[in-house]
Symmetry: D2
């Protein structure tokens, strides 16, 4: 950490900062610049925020040098993590495709979808039982009934399942029915929920918040892992920007950035990111080429009858074509799709 003192800081103020730092075990280096005095401090980055340095008289600003996360960092573990969800491995050479409807709407809808995406090559089935909706007047999900249908679809098709949970109660319910737990974008900084998910030990699909920096996203993963659960898969799903031509702005650069900073696998959700069916295929291709370990794609047997997110859902036919394209792409970039 570097502490920049302001132009008018006096000796007494400089000494006070120095003492505070030494008291917390930091090693001090004083650098006298042209206009300012700068204090280099070597020690534990994670306690900086408890020191109150920025509020001390004479301090202009604090510049952290180290990243604030530890367990998720590539430095703490050089090798890329392989996350197992039953028989599926995320983070290896195989690109993992997760597909299914936005919301579980009925037995027929889910089972049809499950059979079709399995047929086309998906290995994990998605389906929402608890839907966070911006309007209180919109469909809010089938809840436990939806979870049961996911379990039934899994039993029939052999697909592994993932579903979003929205609080501790839904987490409690879901853990018995599904194989992987999704933490949605709106809950990425719901820190209590992150801890609970950490304690559950279940594999976690952690979506990036729609205005979260990559650093904040990795800190959210740090919360989960700090409870002893290392089975975290990150999912880029678009960030909020000024551009309105797409629902969100898919930040594909986040894929190589995350892979540089962390050992965790990262997948991409082109459906929520773009909000438009026609854009799902090109952005799926781009995600793979950028190095993503998998895709999360919304598929609905009849998108125009979907109770949620119909405009961005692929038909089963669209999805089959996309899988064919992805199969052509994968070997050209050193990956496989089973």
């Amino acid at each position: 950490m570097v502490v920049v003192m302001n132009l008018t800081a006096g000796t007494e103020q400089i000494n006070a900062v120095q003492q505070r730092l030494e008291q917390f075990g930091f090693e001090i280096h004083i650098i006298r610049g042209v206009n300012r005095l700068v204090i280099g401090a070597v020690g534990d980055r994670r306690i900086i925020s408890s020191l109150g340095l920025e509020a001390m008289p004479g301090v202009e600003k604090i510049v952290p040098i180290m990243k604030p996360f530890k367990l998720v960092s590539r430095e703490s573990k050089g090798q890329s993590s392989l996350i197992k969800v039953k028989n599926v491995i995320i983070g290896g050479d195989d690109v993992v495709v997760i597909a299914g409807p936005c919301a579980v709407e009925s037995r027929e809808q889910l089972l049809t979808a499950a059979r079709m995406v399995r047929q086309a090559g998906a290995v994990i089935l998605r389906g929402g039982a608890f839907k966070p909706r911006t309007s209180p007047y919109s469909f809010q999900g089938l809840e436990e009934e939806g979870l049961k249908l996911l379990a039934e679809a899994s039993a029939e098709t052999g697909l592994v399942t993932v579903t979003e949970i929205i609080d501790e109660a839904s987490l409690e319910l879901a853990r018995d029915y599904v194989d992987m737990i999704q933490v949605g974008a709106r809950n990425m900084q719901n820190f209590r929920l992150l801890r609970a998910v950490g304690r559950s030990g279940k594999p976690v699909l952690l979506k990036r918040g729609l205005s979260a920096t990559i650093e904040e996203w990795l800190m959210a993963a740090e919360y989960v892992i700090s409870e002893g659960n290392e089975n975290v898969v990150l999912c880029e799903r678009g960030i909020r920007t000024f551009e309105t031509a797409t629902r969100n702005t898919l930040d594909l650069s986040a894929v190589p950035v995350v892979k540089g900073q962390s050992h965790l696998p990262v997948i991409v959700d082109p459906s929520h990111a773009t909000g438009e069916r026609k854009l799902v295929a090109p952005m799926s291709m781009a995600a793979l080429a950028a190095g993503a370990d998998g895709l999360l794609i919304e598929v609905h047997p009849e998108p125009d009858k979907a109770l949620s997110d119909g405009p961005q859902s692929l038909t089963p036919e669209d999805f089959s074509s996309l899988m064919a394209e992805l199969r052509r792409l994968a070997p050209a970039i050193g990956r496989r799709i089973r």
Copy 2:
């Protein structure tokens, strides 16, 4: 609502859209444009998202005309709402100042802060017992112990109290100790929590999410009110933008925009918005001049020893000076500070 059909939409597709709309009770107006056919549809805006129109073949886009909220809207209730928190009224001529430390840290810290902010003219005491922190290694709050201290400070000083809750468990705990419940920026779209807060009947301080549009913020208030709790006060606290000179970008235009669209009172939090002590006074003045009904200001007896957000906390002396400035300003804009 206006449904724009694409250039190549055929008669069959147009008829299908028309039938879907009529089936849901919409009245239809066909407009043939130069290049496109447009369908004007008159009916209930709140069910648009259930119609799946955007996913129907031939539909280019849907343009909603009405706002998606109803209970919070100025149109549903012309007169501005006055929200009572015990003996304090928010939304009237009196500007309401809420002050206190970011986090409750100890009995002495809180009681000192409470006495000092009361002395200077604050009417509501703030203090966090449950702290959502980006790092799992930071101070997370005193929890129930903190709530008890708030109740004690209230009993001693006569100040009304507000505290942030972060899930249903903390809501359950807090409702017996404090007078007003705060929903933080990160939980603004935690829809289950909004419903629970709605059922609690307690006055609510609803912060704007850091990347929430004004429309989404009002929809969050709609969730609370739709459960029968009309005691909602909105709080602007800065949005996330590309600018890094301040912690967030305080969107003061939101104050008159919200007052035009809704009957609910709106206050401003210049401490979290700017993240810097020196900016709190000018932005407090600006907030009042923009028409805010109150302010939420962080004050700490010893900011450089604060466990959270020290750099943006005012000292009691700074706060007294600011209150004096605000008292000079209020009558010039037709408001009062008691």
Copy 3:
């Protein structure tokens, strides 16, 4: 266009709007909604902004239905445009790679770079002679001397050349020395310059402004084409968002969005978008997979001695490896690299 009248608009105000619209040749459709009167108006979208409708009493808002651009739109010309820059065609099956140093720094630097990128497979040479720099104390380019070196490099290697112009004077100079003119991000809405570039007739590489919407970008192209110059190639180079892990946020979704709305080719600049050498290769791959017609890549013989943008420049060796990867990718997505 749809004109939404506000709740309290009277007959007189409605009539005034109707008359204004009819006077400008619009055909009128009145729709009486539940709470509002809405006027559908069919006519020339391009003159809406001259009507002053939004300022008329009783008008709540104007909702345009048509896109504001015409000459650049896919509707005006169904077939994708092929832009010829001497013997190079942009927009066809061949992916076009443009490479070279950020700034022309010396004869040796440019000729070395030119030979190396040609060797690796680039077909157009880039090099800046006029550098827009945020600091007045930074290197500002060799100006005409730089243009001469570009011409020399072209003569020696047979590479076609492109350089950025920054005002009408530099345009005048550059047109005699180079084959294609680049309009940089900061000048994307320098409308006089766009007109001058349009009049010049030279092929244009039009970069997206760093906070420009896709619609504004296409309107900038409309300026150029409206002067009779149809040789426009669009270049996505990242937009400004809250994320600071990369220099800008590369908006790859813009590639399929633009291709849906316009007949113009679009290429991608991963160097400026990411600002970091390690990210250039994965984002180049992703750009191709998303459907880009080409790439603009910074290559410098000795990046650590570059006077501008060294950290994002590839070494010639990096560039050769990347070309090899791109050659493996191209056939898997139905493209070619010569």
Copy 4:
């Protein structure tokens, strides 16, 4: 400056960085951290970007400590600058109100506007003769004819005048007709134009670019001053964010931030920032309370007939009411309006 070496940097790489720094006159301090070696370097911040350090092997990142601007900084000149435009002084106790139409449209329109804004208390007349418009099909300004009308209006009313220039040719024309030159948001980083404006010696109103950071804005002012013209007034006019309820997001915190970092005066344009007439008055009040030295307000005799920006223009009556409100506000914040 602090140079952070990466985890695996070897002695040779560290020596190379050290030599490069010393060769450019920097004084070196080596700090060995827990995981990294950090090099503190004391010297001229302005040449950092020429050193190519970030591209050197082993370097992880560069952290600048000093601000990149010098002439505009509060550190270079402690006292606030007073900018004289004929008999008007900007930056003193008097709040300066600049008003007039967006575009000069006709002799009658401009003279009527000039008389009315003078009557209400404006001291500078604004009016655009060169209009940068996003559509090539919109009104582009009266050009020299408009400048002549501004000169005539000035002669009749005694008002000082300001107009926007858009390139060197319009600057040449304008300097003989008006008293102050405006550089618009889209030209804030048109560095050649900034230099030309600097050489002109005319007082300059420098608008913030719609996606410019405060640092970039001050660097633009540095360009002007580095040519010897110290008469720069900054103008905040809203930045581009995800929020669409207002045309831009007025960043009022920028006012105290700029005043802390620079000696230059700063005014606010609530008309362009909000894009809506009803929001102009509250945001004008807020701007003053935040410490702005003046306001730039669009006033049109008949907003609904305006050829540009009618929806955000005040009528002369609105403007008179606003001036009355501002006159009540000013003394309460220690300012005056003549």
